[in-house]
Amino acid sequence: MSSSAPSDVALIRAEIRRRKRRDLWFGALGVLALALALLTVVTLFINMLIDGWARLTPEFFTSFPSRRAGQAGILSAWVGSLLVMLVTASVAVPLGVAAGIWLEEYAPKHWLTDIIEININNLAGVPSIIYGLLALGLFVYTFGLGQSIRTAGLTLALLILPMIIVATREAIRGIPQSIREGAYALGATRWQMVRHHILPYSMPGIFTGVIIGMARAIGETAPIITIGALTFIAFLPPAPLVGTPPFVNFEWLSAPFTVMPIQIFNWTSRPEAAFQQNAAAASVILVAMTLMMNGLAIWLRYRLRKNLKW
């Protein structure tokens, strides 16, 4: 075509307008979907906040559960959650990270490792109550670990282990091959390569995976109920740190316990309105804890990744 009449230009513009309208439509649909999701969550949270506001006092954190709603608190629940998380983290992190590193850097690539890989991904999707049943049979009955903090910690560790393995592998895959070759070319052994490069550079991703796994674990109720956590605990486990040598005390590991979600579950099953308020207040705290952990994960990832550029 040698020349284009003005009508052609008008045609082109009309056509562009028509296509851009579709663009706009999808944009609007996306915003709507996002708003719907966010609003639901925010509404729920505000609702909880309003219900539980009156109970969010310092005493609420320092009181044991009680038959009188006004005097009941979450001391044994948050201490229990904290200690269970401690066990979970100290078991799941080393195991998960080591397994992830082995699968990425050491394992030969053949059908057996393929099967392992598929199964780890599947494990991340197994309903948590299944882990509870497994733990009841294995930890409580077979190993006789009791309905204790260590059983709960081990159970939740199993639950988040696949998440940590997957996060570790993802983080390791992000490290360019040129870094590995660079280290090997200078005479590094495999372990030196892992220790000096793979571990430090995958740390941001591993941290993120660990914290997100922990945020999931702290809210888990089903497996903890299955292994038989108590719903009414009016004492604290023995302190892990003591004033006399050897300063550490592991009795707390075998102590009976309760955790935040179980305390909430217990209170919501009570008919009195005052207990519903307690449940709402405890829920606000649990949600805040989870959000804080996720926030920490994002912050850590940002901080640690600043020095990693390829």
Partner: protein, 263 residues
């Protein structure tokens, strides 16, 4: 031939490739390659993409052992001790401790400049600060980087420009006192000015170390090397003094490539 130069076979030899064959799975990538590496000289490997020049270079420090599915046969003899670098009984780590490599793209570790340079010493278990400091300075000077970084040794290596990063990688490779330095297209990711400085550096380095360099750039081979090997489809077509290869190649295929008829 310039008579004052003499026959290649009479020069001191640092390494020899003998009847080397390489397979990537079913693909026969290198066929019966035999060539010498003269001591404290620069030998360039040239040829069109896919001719196997990088494969040959990476065989010297057994990089291929890192990946499954690679098979090779033949020998690469390192003098004076006559060690066959390819012998399965020779640990690839031993090989990599004697031969250093500089890669195509600068690949500094996300660590400080200092930690990068001394990484080879760290791997060897050296912890004495004074030894490490001396090594770092010596290697950075040899790589013509000392003046630019001596006041910021503990800055991150990524803060350096591309050319500085590549010189850092050269310093890192030198800090282990290698007998042979392998360069895998070291300037292909760099601009012409930086390339010139790296070439100048290679020229200086050959006083101390034997150099093997793969290059895509024929002019570069002509500028930096004493010997050139022209490879084509996995075969070594011609090996000789760089001047001879470029001025009067014996093989028609070499001539076609040199004169830019293909490549």
């Amino acid at each position: 031939m310039d008579p004052s130069r003499g026959a290649i076979s009479e020069l001191p030899i640092k390494a020899e490739v003998r009847n080397f064959n390489f397979h990537y799975g079913e693909f026969h990538a290198l066929k019966d390659v035999t060539m010498p590496l003269c001591e404290r000289k620069v030998t360039a490997l040239i040829g069109p993409s896919g001719c196997g020049k990088s494969t040959l270079l990476r065989s010297f420090n057994r990089m291929h052992d890192l990946y499954a599915g690679n098979r090779y046969g033949g020998e690469i003899i390192l003098h004076p001790d006559q060690t066959n670098l390819l012998d399965p009984r020779v640990d690839p780590i031993e090989v990599r401790m004697r031969l250093s490599m500089v890669f195509q793209k600068p690949n500094p570790f996300p660590k400080s400049i200092y930690e990068n340079v001394i990484y080879g010493q760290r791997v060897r278990g050296v912890t004495k600060r004074s030894v490490l400091d001396d090594k770092a300075e010596e290697a950075l000077r040899a790589a013509a980087l000392w003046g630019e970084v001596k006041h910021r040794l503990h800055d991150m290596a990524f803060a350096l420009s591309g050319g500085q990063q590549q010189r850092l990688c050269i310093a890192r490779a030198l800090a282990t006192d290698p007998e042979v330095l392998l360069f895998d297209e070291p300037t292909s990711a760099l601009d012409p000015i930086v390339t010139a400085s790296i070439e100048e550096l290679i020229h200086q380095l050959k006083e101390k170390v034997t150099i093997l360099i793969v290059t895509h750039n024929m002019q570069q081979a002509a500028r930096v090397s004493d010997f050139t090997a022209y490879m084509y489809l996995g075969e070594l077509i011609e090996f000789g003094y760089t001047e001879e290869i470029f001025i009067k190649p014996r093989d028609k295929r070499t001539e076609d490539y040199i004169t830019g008829r293909f490549g």
